[in-house]
């Protein structure tokens, strides 16, 4: 009797503990959103959100907080990364799942996992050592003078960083397409390539779109590696060979000065909020696409 009492007591206590942990974890996104919003409210009270997002002057000491150059830089860097990474990932995923021998895919899995595990500062180091000088050379070929610390460098480094992420999703998606679909197309006399082009890619298209969306959200928030190669000049870039200053870099670069000026602090928190919202948006959309939008 006694024994069962303790057992049920223990059961109740540990159940409560587990449940409260779960509830806590579930509230984290909410807490982050609220926290960042409260912190940026000082800035939002004094400026309209439109001026913040579209004003081009960034002079924190004069209370001018225009995020436009940073937002544009972020978009440029992210797009460059996706434009490079998406086709490479798609082609590789198709090759690995449709053409290569099985053991090769087995070899590639650790390659992808190691790439995914490399910390972003190391990507940054390699970017500084390899890509920055390379881009500088390229720029001189085009008759431009460039230090190499450019949007393009950031984009290339980012594209390598998000490759394992996108590739893993794509491989999973292509693997999950039932063999019978391929067999059906082949037995209608289609060649392997036609089958891939007309049937498999189409079947995988929601997955492809959302993997790219997730890649975008990953690239948009990536900080250290980009920070190290992108140049960090608060001007609106005209082309990919200009330096840029993406939002995460802005936050990371100014953390030391944050506390001294409350408005500045608030501005940096606001950029974190922008990041948070944009990343969540792309995440939610991408996941909706893959779950709900299975058209065919």
């Amino acid at each position: 009797m006694n024994c069962s009492f303790y057992r049920s007591l223990r059961n109740n206590i540990s159940s409560a503990w587990m449940l409260s942990c779960l509830l806590f974890v579930m509230t984290i996104p909410l807490l982050i959103g609220i926290g960042l919003f409260l912190k940026s409210s000082l800035l939002l009270e004094n400026n309209s959100i439109l001026t913040l997002l579209f004003s081009k002057t960034w002079k924190p000491l004069n209370q001018n907080f225009g995020f436009y150059p940073f937002i544009i830089s972020s978009i440029w860097v992210t797009l460059t990364a996706i434009v490079i990474a998406a086709p490479i990932c798609l082609l590789t995923a198709i090759y690995l799942t449709q053409y290569s021998k099985k053991y090769f895919l087995k070899i590639m899995h650790p390659v992808i996992d190691i790439l995914a595990g490399i910390p972003s500062v190391v990507y940054g180091v390699c970017g500084v050592l390899i890509i920055v000088p390379f881009i500088s050379e390229i720029a001189t070929i085009f008759g431009k003078h460039s230090s190499g610390y450019t949007i393009l460098s950031g984009g290339i480094v980012l594209s390598i960083m998000i490759t394992p992420f996108i590739l893993n999703i794509l491989i999973e998606i292509f693997k999950n397409i039932p063999d019978e679909l391929q067999e059906a197309s082949l037995s209608l006399g289609a060649t392997k390539w036609e089958t891939i082009k007309f049937v498999l890619i189409k079947k995988a298209s929601p997955g492809i779109i959302s993997s790219i969306g997730l890649g975008i959200s990953r690239a948009f928030g990536e900080t250290m590696a980009v920070l190290m190669v992108v140049g960090n000049v608060a001007k609106i870039p005209n082309n990919v060979l200009d330096p840029g200053y993406p939002l995460p870099a802005l936050i990371a670069n100014n953390y030391g000065e944050m506390l001294s000026i409350p408005m500045y602090d608030s501005a940096l928190m606001f950029s974190a909020l922008i990041l948070f919202v944009v990343v969540l948006f792309f995440n939610i959309i991408s996941r909706l696409i893959i779950t709900k939008l299975e058209i065919y």
């Binding site: 039932p178 679909l181 059906a184 037995s187 209608l188 006399g189 065919y296």
Partner: protein, 254 residues
């Protein structure tokens, strides 16, 4: 029963999955424009046998095929002819309907387009023709642009059958085509097979004895990768020779 021509002749077919000997010394003569039913429990190699017939076994690197499969006097396993042309002679119907990720219209038109017939008018006519052949036209004529997956499973399976017919095959290969369907849809498919048999040679894999009895002209009974017994349907069902066949027939006829 009148004497029939042979459509497919399988000689000494052996198949290995890695080290596993899945099909052992298969010899079958599949009669032309009849329904040949391959009967047996799961895992006995029925599906593998079917896939050998249009060389879908090529897709899996761990499967090795030895022997001969002769169609129209040519051994397709060692043929120099383009593999896609060989496959085009055979329509495939799988266990579950796998409509292509396209709308209903394009599911039918796909095979035609692949073989280079792209004229709109021609396609429209053919799509209608094939959909009528499988009695689906009336049900879908107003929603040809809907995704094929919006159809019911039974309709999808019929659509897949029609899709297979579009490339003018001589042979229809069907792998337990009714096992995922409700009885009404199953009957519809069975009826279609009976109707189509005058034009096509049908090879049907099934584990349902009753279905085999209903539609088979020729029966091949397999067990663990070997053929136990084969012969014309009435002979097979009424006068089985082997013990294994007898127990199989006895065990399930109740």
């Amino acid at each position: 029963m009148k004497a029939t021509e042979t459509e497919i002749k399988i000689n000494n077919l052996n198949v290995f999955h890695g080290n596993h000997h899945t099909l052992k010394n298969i010899n079958i003569e599949i009669p032309k424009q009849k329904i040949t039913v391959i009967l047996g429990s799961s895992g006995c190699g029925k599906t593998t046998l079917l896939k050998c017939l249009n060389r879908l076994t090529d897709l899996y690197s761990n499967i090795k095929v030895k022997g001969e499969i002769i169609i129209n006097g040519e051994d397709i396993l060692h043929s120099k002819e383009d593999i896609t042309d060989i496959r085009r002679k055979m329509g495939l119907l799988s266990q579950m309907p796998y409509p292509l990720p396209m709308n209903i219209y394009n599911n039918i038109a796909y095979g035609l387009k692949i073989s280079g017939r792209n004229k709109k008018k021609y396609l429209n006519k053919r799509v209608e023709y094939y959909l009528k052949q499988i009695n689906l036209w009336e049900e879908v004529k107003d929603r040809l642009k809907d995704p094929a997956s919006s159809l019911s499973l039974g309709q999808q399976q019929r659509l897949c059958l029609a899709r297979g017919l579009t490339v003018d095959p001589d042979i229809i290969l069907a792998d337990e085509p009714t096992s995922a369907l409700d009885p009404v849809s199953s009957n519809a498919i069975e009826e279609l097979f009976l109707n189509l048999k005058q034009h096509y040679t049908t090879v049907l894999v099934t584990h349902t004895l009753r279905q085999a009895k209903r539609i088979a002209d020729y029966v091949v009974f397999m067990y663990l990768g070997e053929i136990i017994e084969q012969g014309p349907a009435d002979e097979f069902f009424n006068n089985p020779k082997m013990d294994k066949t007898k127990s199989y027939l006895g065990g399930t006829s109740n």
